[in-house]
C-alpha cells in the first residue's frame, strides 16, 4: 500500500488539470467541491501510506517514477522519498490543506473567478506535496518554485487592485533572491557528491570537509530565508496578506512558509558536518527574526498583518530550534503552528467576511456576541499560540526553548541569550495576540467609526487607483479593502465554521503527541526512527524532571502575564496605538528602507546601465557606422542604397549557386 504514495500528489494534480480545462463549465460551487474532495482523497491516501509504513520494519520507502534529467554525470529522478519527516508534513499539507479547501468553498462564494481560485489552490497543493516528497534537492526545488509561483498567482488573484498585484510580484522576486542561494547550494552539492539525491548525499555527508558543508548550508539557508520569511528576506510576507484569506492560512502560515524549516531538517547531516559556528548563524537569524517580527506585530492595525508578523515570528522559533539542533522540536512546532495559525487566519477571514471586507481592527470591537463560534475558536487558538498549558503551542514552544536552554547549559553563553529572547518574545506573543482579540471581540463596537488620518498608505493608494480606473459598466468585485455601506456583522455558514472548529480542536490536542516526559515524546521518537541521521544530529536533552517542570511552569506564567498585560492596557484604553512603540513601527522601517533602496539607488543603477547600453555600446556602433559612411560616398548610400545593392548581390549570387547545384545534381543523376 505504501507504493500508492504517488497518488497523494497525483490527486491534486488531476484536480488542477480538470479544473483548468473544465472549471468554468463545472462552475460554482462544484469546482470548489471537486478540489476539496481530491484533497480529502489525498489525505486518506496519506493515512493509508502512514498505516502501512508504521507496519514495516524499515520506516522509509523510496519510489522512483522515471528519470527526469539525465545528462552526463548529472542524473536526477522523479521519485518519492517517504520517511517520518515527509510523512508528518504530508499529513499536515493534505489534512489542514483539505480543511482550508473546504473553508474556501464558502469563502470564495460569488467571486467571478471562483473556479480559477481552485485551479491555483490544487496546483499549490500538488507543488507542496512534490516539495515534501521529492527524493532529491532538484525535485524539492521544483516544488519550492511551484509553491512560490502559486503564491504569486494567488496573492495577485484580485489583480485589479494595485496593492495585490504589487504584493504578488514582491513575494515572487524576493523569493527568487532566496532561490539563487538554493541553486548555488545545489550546484555545490552536485559538485562534491556527483548527485542531488537525498539517499546518496545524506549518508555521505559526514565525510564532507567542514568548509564545503558550511558553504552548502549557508547557500541553502539564503533560500530558507526567502521562503520561510527570515531576516533579511522576510518583508514580502506581510504584504502577501493582500490575497484572499484562505491562501494566507494555507500558503502563508501552515505550509509553504514552513518549507524552509523542512529543508533544514532534511539536510541535517550536512549541517552537522559544517563548522560549529554555522548552526549558530541559523539560530541567530531565527532569534533576531522572532523578536523583530513580534515587535512589529505589536503595532499593526490590520488584523491579517498582526497574524502575518506573528507567523514570521513563529517561523523564527522553528529556525532557531534547527540552529541549536532541536530538529524534532522544530517539526513539532511546525505542526502545532499549522493548526493554531490556520485556525486564527480562517477565524480572521470569517471576521473580515462578516465585516464587509474590513480588515482594520480600529473598526472592529464587540464582535464576541455577533460571532460567538468564531470568537471561541480564535480564543482557543490564541491561548495556544500564547503558550498557555495544556494547549498545543505550550508544548511545542516549550520544547524549542528547552533545546535552546540546553545549548546554554552546554556552556554556550549564546544559548542563554537566545533563551532569554525566546522567553521575552513569548511574552510579546501573548500581548499582541490578546491585543488583537480584545480589539476585535471585546469592548464597544466601532464598526462605523471614521478611520483617523494615517490610514495605511498602500491601501489609500490602491483605492485611488481603483477610482481612477472606474469605467462605465465595468463591475469590480473586490473582496478585501473598504466596501462602503451599513455593516451587519454575522456569523458565516457551517462551511466556514466547521474547518475553524476542527482546527481549534486540533490546536488543543496536537500538543499531546510530544510531551517532554518519558514515553510521551511520540513525535520525536517517530522522527528519530525515520529520518536519516536525525538521532545522531538531534541535540540530546539532559534536563531533570524538576527542571522540565520548572520550564513548563515558566512558559505558562509568561504567557499568562502577557495576557494580563494586554488586558490591563485594553482596560486603560492604551492598546491602539501602543504608545511610542506602536507609532514607531506601524510601518516596517526595514521594508521602507528596502523600498527606498529599490526606488532610488537601485533604479539609478539600472538606469545608468541602460543609458550605457544606449549611448556607449550602441553609440560606438553607430559612430563606427557614421565614420565609415563619411569616409565612403555619404551616409545616404550606406543607410539604404549600398546595403540594398549588396543584399541583392548576395541573393543573386545565391540564386546562381543554387542553379549550379541543381544542374550538377541533375547531371549526376
Amino acid at each position: 500500500m505504501v507504493d500508492l504514495v504517488w497518488l497523494v500528489p497525483a490527486l491534486p494534480l488531476a484536480g488542477f488539470v480538470v479544473l483548468l480545462f473544465f472549471g468554468k463549465r463545472i462552475g460554482e460551487p462544484l469546482s470548489g467541491w471537486l478540489a476539496t474532495l481530491l484533497m480529502g482523497g489525498a489525505f486518506i491516501c496519506s493515512l493509508v501510506v502512514l498505516g502501512d509504513l508504521m507496519g514495516q520494519h524499515e520506516r522509509t520507502f523510496h519510489q522512483v517514477l522515471f528519470t527526469w534529467v539525465p545528462a552526463g554525470s548529472f542524473n536526477v529522478d522523479v521519485g518519492f522519498y517517504v520517511d517520518s519527516l515527509s510523512m508528518t508534513l504530508l499529513l499536515v499539507v493534505t489534512g489542514i490543506g483539505g480543511l482550508i479547501h473546504l473553508y474556501a468553498v464558502g469563502y470564495m462564494r460569488g467571486d467571478p473567478r471562483y473556479h480559477q481560485f481552485f485551479v491555483y489552490f490544487n496546483l499549490f497543493a500538488f507543488s507542496m506535496l512534490m516539495l515534501v516528497l521529492g527524493d532529491n534537492l532538484l525535485l524539492t526545488f521544483l516544488g519550492w518554485e511551484g509553491v512560490g509561483t502559486c503564491s504569486y498567482l494567488l496573492i495577485s488573484f484580485w489583480f485589479e487592485r494595485k496593492a495585490n498585484a504589487t504584493a504578488g510580484k514582491k513575494a515572487f522576486i524576493t523569493n527568487r533572491v532566496g532561490d539563487w542561494g538554493y541553486m548555488v547550494g545545489m550546484l555545490i552539492t552536485f559538485f562534491v557528491f556527483g548527485s542531488l539525491s537525498y539517499s546518496e548525499i545524506l549518508p555521505k555527508a559526514p565525510g564532507l570537509s567542514a568548509a564545503t558543508a558550511s558553504a552548502i548550508v549557508l547557500f541553502l539557508f539564503v533560500g530558507v530565508c526567502g521562503k520561510s520569511a527570515q531576516i533579511p528576506l522576510y518583508f514580502w510576507l506581510p504584504d502577501a496578506m493582500a490575497g484572499p484569506t484562505p491562501i494566507s492560512a494555507l500558503i502563508h502560515a501552515a505550509t509553504m512558509v514552513t518549507a524552509g524549516v523542512y529543508l533544514l531538517v532534511r539536510v541535517n547531516p550536512i549541517i552537522a558536518a559544517s563548522y560549529g559556528w554555522v548552526p549558530w548563524i541559523v539560530a541567530g537569524v531565527g532569534c533576531a527574526t522572532l523578536l523583530v517580527a513580534a515587535i512589529l506585530a505589536m503595532s499593526q492595525r490590520d488584523i491579517k498583518k498582526v497574524l502575518a508578523y506573528s507567523t514570521v515570528s513563529q517561523l523564527g522559533y522553528m529556525v532557531m530550534a534547527v540552529g541549536v539542533g532541536g530538529y524534532t522540536a522544530a517539526v513539532f512546532h511546525l505542526v502545532t503552528h499549522a493548526c493554531f495559525k490556520a485556525c486564527l487566519f480562517l477565524g480572521a477571514g470569517s471576521v473580515v467576511h462578516g465585516m464587509n471586507d474590513e480588515q482594520d481592527m480600529r473598526r472592529f470591537g464587540g464582535l464576541r456576541t455577533q460571532m460567538p463560534v468564531t470568537y471561541w475558536c480564535m480564543l482557543v487558538a490564541s491561548l495556544a499560540i500564547a503558550g498557555i498549558a495544556p494547549l498545543s503551542g505550550f508544548w511545542s514552544k516549550d520544547d524549542i526553548l528547552s533545546f535552546v536552554a540546553n545549548a546554554g547549559a552546554d556552556g554556550q553563553v549564546a544559548g542563554w541569550v537566545l533563551y532569554a529572547v525566546g522567553l521575552f518574545t513569548a511574552l510579546l506573543t501573548a500581548i499582541y495576540m490578546f491585543r488583537m482579540m480584545y480589539l476585535t471581540f471585546h469592548g464597544e463596537p466601532r464598526w462605523d467609526d471614521p478611520i483617523p488620518e494615517d490610514i495605511a498608505l498602500d491601501v489609500a493608494a490602491s483605492e485611488a487607483e481603483l477610482e481612477d480606473a472606474d469605467l462605465g459598466g465595468a463591475h469590480i468585485h473586490i473582496h478585501d479593502g473598504h466596501a462602503h455601506g451599513p455593516i451587519h456583522p454575522h456569523q458565516p455558514g457551517w462551511l466556514m465554521l466547521g474547518p475553524v472548529a476542527v482546527l481549534a480542536l486540533l490546536s488543543v490536542v496536537a500538543g499531546f503527541m510530544n510531551m517532554p516526559f518519558k514515553g510521551t515524546e511520540l513525535l520525536a521518537d517517530f522522527l528519530d526512527e525515520g529520518v536519516v541521521n536525525l538521532v545522531a544530529n538531534n541535540a540530546e536533552l539532559t534536563w531533570q524532571l524538576w527542571q522540565t517542570l520548572a520550564m513548563l511552569g515558566l512558559g505558562t506564567a509568561v504567557g499568562a502575564a502577557g495576557i494580563f498585560i494586554a488586558w490591563r492596557l485594553f482596560k486603560a484604553g492604551k492598546l491602539d496605538p501602543v504608545p511610542g512603540l506602536g507609532q514607531l513601527f506601524s510601518r516596517d522601517p526595514y521594508d521602507a528602507a528596502i523600498a527606498w533602496f529599490m526606488a532610488h539607488p537601485g533604479r539609478v543603477l539600472f538606469d545608468a546601465l541602460s543609458w550605457f547600453d544606449r549611448t556607449i555600446v550602441d553609440g560606438a556602433v553607430n559612430g563606427v557606422g557614421a565614420v565609415v559612411a563619411s569616409a565612403g560616398s555619404g551616409a545616404r548610400r550606406l543607410q539604404s542604397g549600398y546595403v540594398r545593392t549588396y543584399a541583392l548581390g548576395v541573393a543573386l549570387g545565391a540564386a546562381v549557386i543554387l542553379a549550379l547545384v541543381l544542374t550538377r545534381v541533375l547531371a549526376l543523376s
Binding site: 570537509s209 546601465l609 543584399a647
Partner: protein
C-alpha cells in the same frame, strides 16, 4: 504541377546520396521550391501565396519529425548523410547530415516556421513576404544540416537577405535603420568567417592528401599551429558572437526585433540566434579544440556578463519587444557559458537551452504579435489591465512567461540549470554570477506583466478581444512542448548526449596534454574528505568560491 516538380526535385536531389528517400536534401529543397512556386503565382492571389508558404513549411516540419523518428538514438556520428560533389577540383560538396547536436535544432526549425507563417499576416505585398519567409526557412535548415564549410557559409549568408528584406519592408517604425544595422553587423562578422574558411581549407591541404577540401570531416584533421588555430577560431567566432549575440555585440538585436514584423521576430529569436551558438559548437569547438580551451575563460565571462547585463537592461525597457529582445541576450548567455564549459553537462544544457529558448521566446513573440494586431503598439505605457478583458490571452502569456523565468517543470529551467551545472564544474564564480540571471528574469518579466495585464483596463484596453480558436491552436503545440520538455526531457537528452560526448572526446584528443573536461573527479577541489571521521575538519579544507580550474 508544383507538387510533381517538388517530388522530382526531391528525388533527384538525393539520388547521389545514401540509400532510399533523400530526407535531408528535401528539408532544404521543399522550402526552396515553395519559394519558387510563390514567385510563379501572380501577385493578385495572396491567399495562394499564403497557402503555398504554409504547405511548404508544414511539409518541411513533417520531414523534420520523420528525421526525428528514424534518428538512431545511440549513434553519435552523422546520420542520413547525403552527398553530392559539386566542385570537384576544390572538393566542395553538397553534403548534408544530422547528428544529436543538430537534430533538435532542425526539428525546432520545422516547428517554429509553420507557426510563424500561420500566426501573422503581412499588411501589404504578400507575395514578397511569403517568398522571403519561405526562403529563410531553407537557409536555416541548410545551416543546421550542412557538412561542408562553404555550403554552411552559403546558407549562413542566405539567411541574411530574407530577414533584411522582411525587416526593411514589412517592419514598423525605423525599419530601414534596423534592417541596415542588422545587415551590416552580421555581414561584417561573416566576412571574417569567410576569410577563416578559405584559409582553413587552404591550410588543411597540406595535412590531408594534398588536395584542397571544404569538407568538415576532412578539414578537421588539418594540423594547425597554435597561433594560426587561434586566429582562425576568432575569425569564425566573430560571426557567431554577432549572431548569438554575445555582449557587447548585441545592440543590433533590440532594434531588429522591435521593428521586425511578428514572423520575423519569431524566426529571429526562435531560430536565427541559434545559428550563432550552433556554429560555435560545430565549427568553433569542433575545428579548434585548442583555441576553444584557450579562449573559454573570455567567453564564459562574456556569457555571464551578458546574462546579468541583458537582464538589467531588459528591466528598464518601455517597449515589450525590446524587453524580450534583451531577455534573449540574457538567455543566450546561458548557451554560451554552457558551451564553453566544455563538459557534457554544460554542452547538453546549452543545446537544450537553444531549443527551449526557441520555443519560449518564439512563443512570446507570437503572443506579442497577437497583442499588436489588437492594440497596434508595444509600448507598456499604453497597455493595462488586459488580464481582465482577455483572460485566456493573459493565462497563456503567464504560462510562457513563467517558462521564460525558468520555472522547474517547464522547459526553460532544465537547459539553464544544466548550463549552470556545467559552468560550475568549470568555474564557480561564473556560475554563481550567472545564477542571478533567474532573479533578473523574474524582475523584468513580472514587472512588465504587472504593467500590461494587472490593474483595471482603460477604454481601448477594455475592448481587447480575447484569443480566437486559431490563435489558441497556434500556441497549443508550443505549450505542449514547454510542458513535455520540462517534465520529460530524457528522450531529447539521450539523443543529444552521444554526439556531445563524441565532440568532447574529440576536443580532449586535440587538447593540450593534461587537459580534461571540467567535472571529472580530479578536477574537484571541494571534494569529500575520504575516510575521515573528523567532520569539523582540521585538515586543509578548500573553501567554496575558488575557481575550478
Amino acid at each position: 504541377m508544383t507538387a510533381s516538380l517538388l517530388a522530382q526535385a526531391v528525388y533527384v536531389a538525393g539520388a547521389g546520396g545514401g540509400s532510399g528517400f533523400p530526407v535531408l536534401p528535401s528539408m532544404v529543397f521543399v522550402p526552396v521550391f515553395g519559394a519558387i512556386a510563390i514567385l510563379a503565382v501572380p501577385a493578385t492571389r495572396p491567399q495562394m501565396h499564403r497557402l503555398i508558404a504554409i504547405v511548404s513549411a508544414t511539409m518541411t516540419g513533417a520531414i523534420g519529425l520523420y528525421v526525428l523518428k528514424v534518428f538512431k538514438a545511440g549513434d553519435p556520428g552523422m546520420q542520413l548523410v547525403s552527398e553530392v560533389t559539386w566542385v570537384q577540383s576544390l572538393d566542395i560538396k553538397f553534403s548534408l547530415g544530422v547528428d544529436g547536436i543538430s537534430l533538435f535544432l532542425v526539428v525546432l526549425t520545422g516547428v517554429i516556421f509553420p507557426l510563424a507563417v500561420v500566426a501573422a499576416k503581412p499588411e501589404h505585398s504578400e507575395k514578397g513576404y511569403y517568398f522571403w519567409l519561405t526562403l529563410l526557412m531553407a537557409g536555416c535548415t541548410g545551416v543546421f544540416l550542412a557538412l561542408d564549410l562553404l555550403l554552411f557559409f552559403l546558407f549562413f549568408e542566405i539567411t541574411l537577405v530574407p530577414l533584411y528584406m522582411l525587416i526593411g519592408k514589412w517592419g514598423h517604425g525605423r525599419r530601414v535603420y534596423a534592417a541596415t544595422k542588422f545587415f551590416i553587423f552580421t555581414m561584417l562578422g561573416s566576412m571574417f568567417m569567410l576569410v577563416s574558411i578559405v584559409s582553413l581549407a587552404y591550410l588543411a591541404k597540406a595535412g590531408v592528401d594534398h588536395t584542397i577540401s571544404f569538407d568538415l570531416r576532412r578539414v578537421v584533421a588539418a594540423e594547425l599551429g597554435t597561433g594560426t588555430g587561434r586566429w582562425l577560431f576568432l575569425g569564425f567566432v566573430v560571426a557567431f558572437a554577432v549572431k548569438t549575440p554575445i555582449f557587447p555585440f548585441h545592440t543590433w538585436l533590440p532594434d531588429a526585433h522591435t521593428e521586425a514584423p511578428t514572423a520575423g521576430s519569431v524566426d529571429l529569436a526562435g531560430i536565427l540566434l541559434k545559428l550563432g551558438t550552433y556554429g560555435f559548437l560545430r565549427y568553433g569547438l569542433y575545428l579548434f579544440p585548442e583555441a576553444s580551451i584557450f579562449f573559454a575563460p573570455l567567453f564564459v565571462a562574456l556569457g555571464a556578463i551578458g546574462i546579468v547585463y541583458g537582464g538589467i537592461v531588459a528591466a528598464m525597457q518601455k517597449n515589450l519587444k525590446r524587453l524580450v529582445a534583451y531577455s534573449s541576450v540574457s538567455h543566450m548567455g546561458f548557451c554560451i557559458i554552457g558551451l564553453l564549459a566544455l563538459n557534457v553537462e554544460g554542452i547538453e544544457g546549452a543545446i537544450l537551452q537553444m531549443v527551449n529558448h526557441g520555443i519560449i521566446t518564439g512563443g512570446l513573440f507570437i503572443l506579442l504579435g497577437f497583442l499588436y494586431t489588437r492594440r497596434h503598439t508595444y509600448e507598456m505605457s499604453s497597455l493595462r489591465g488586459i488580464q481582465r478583458s482577455a483572460p485566456v490571452f493573459a493565462g497563456i502569456f503567464t504560462f510562457v512567461m513563467l517558462a521564460s523565468v525558468g520555472l522547474p517543470g517547464l522547459s526553460g529551467f532544465i537547459g539553464e540549470f544544466l548550463s549552470l551545472v556545467g559552468t560550475f564544474l568549470y568555474n564557480h564564480t561564473a556560475a554563481v554570477i550567472a545564477a542571478t540571471g533567474a532573479i533578473f528574469a523574474s524582475l523584468y518579466l513580472l514587472w512588465a506583466y504587472q504593467r500590461v495585464f494587472h490593474g483595471l483596463p482603460d477604454e481601448p484596453n477594455a475592448r481587447f478581444v480575447d484569443l480566437n480558436l486559431s490563435e489558441k491552436l497556434v500556441m497549443a503545440p508550443l505549450i505542449g512542448l514547454i510542458v513535455l520538455l520540462g517534465v520529460y526531457p530524457k528522450p531529447v537528452l539521450e539523443r543529444i548526449e552521444p554526439s556531445v560526448k563524441l565532440t568532447i572526446a574529440h576536443v580532449q584528443e586535440h587538447a593540450p596534454p593534461g587537459w580534461h573536461p571540467a567535472g571529472s573527479q580530479e578536477g574537484r577541489d571541494l571534494s569529500p574528505v575520504a575516510d575521515s571521521g573528523h567532520a569539523h575538519g582540521s585538515g586543509p579544507a578548500p573553501t567554496a568560491g575558488e575557481g575550478g580550474h
